[in-house]
């Protein structure tokens, strides 16, 4: 591990991302609890197995539950509300992850010639994953 660069005090990108990591982390926990609680309310205990519950909890996409014992996904499971929830979770989770991997990489890489390239690569992967996420939400037939 390299000695760490200490960012300046005050409002800058490092501070904002530090704050975003905390808030998005709490946000993901809240969104997951809403997803899990709603699934249980809609009868998940009898209709889903554990992996399906987990997949629904972290990505409330109808494709995640369509192959389970739910009689009709369009009743409650595939609505505009869950589409908004998916967009929120995609944005929070991928941004949280991209920033987290940037912090881990830069702890080992330090301020070198390669830093801007690594940042650009991570930003590219982040944008790509968000686009795939939006495609998945819009591409779900329900």
């Amino acid at each position: 591990m390299r000695p760490r660069y200490i960012p300046n005090r005050g409002i800058n990108l490092d501070y904002l991302m530090w704050l975003f990591t905390r808030i998005s982390g709490l946000g993901i926990i809240l969104l997951s609890l809403i997803g899990l609680g709603s699934a249980m309310y809609m009868g998940a205990r009898l209709q889903l197995d554990l992996p399906t519950v987990l997949r629904w909890t972290f990505m409330p996409n109808p494709s995640h539950v369509v192959n389970s014992n739910i009689p009709d996904v369009t009743l409650g499971w595939a609505t505009a509300f869950w589409q908004i929830m998916q967009y929120l979770i995609i944005f929070f989770a991928f941004t949280h992850a991209a920033n987290g991997i940037r912090m881990i990489v830069e702890d080992y890489l330090g301020h070198t010639f390669w830093q801007p390239f690594v940042r650009a690569l991570i930003a590219l992967v982040w944008i790509g994953m968000v686009i795939i996420g939006i495609y998945v939400v819009l591409g779900s037939a329900y």
């Binding site: 905390r22 926990i29 554990l50 992850a97 987290g100 991997i101 881990i104 795939i132």
Partner: protein
């Protein structure tokens, strides 16, 4: 731990160990989640677009019961420990109870995780 020095067993048992292990495991589980979710997204995308059978193979591994035990550890640890970190950082007055917060975290994490593993294993053994 001293930078660039071999500290042996005492290095692992030094005074800050409780919070340091939480920090190290937080990073480890973070990379685990990114790996699992990234591979799962790529595999599901390949299944949807019918790009060969490798996506189905990977998703079969992803959904197997023994793999779920690892995924649940990563997700539950990262969520609960992240909640601890966020709470302490947003309310810095609580930072003096840092070690106690880690003990509280393990006290909450352990029963939830063991119960989940129990459910996964009994379901797997009964063929559920």
């Amino acid at each position: 731990m001293a930078y660039g020095k071999y500290t042996g067993l005492e290095g692992w048992l030094y005074k800050g160990s409780v919070t340091y292990y939480a920090f190290a495991l937080h990073r480890l589980t973070a990379m685990g989640i990114i790996l699992f979710v990234g591979v799962h997204v790529a595999a599901s995308f390949s299944m949807q677009q019918v790009l060969g059978t490798w996506g189905t193979t990977i998703n079969t591994i992803y959904e197997s019961w023994w793999f779920q035990i690892i995924v649940v550890f990563c997700v539950l640890f990262h969520a609960l420990n992240g909640f601890r970190v966020a709470t302490l950082d947003l309310f810095p007055r609580l930072l003096k109870y840092d070690r106690e917060a880690v003990y509280l975290f393990w006290g909450i994490f352990t029963p939830i995780y063991l119960l989940t593993v129990y459910v996964i294993v009994t379901k797997a053994l009964s063929g559920g």
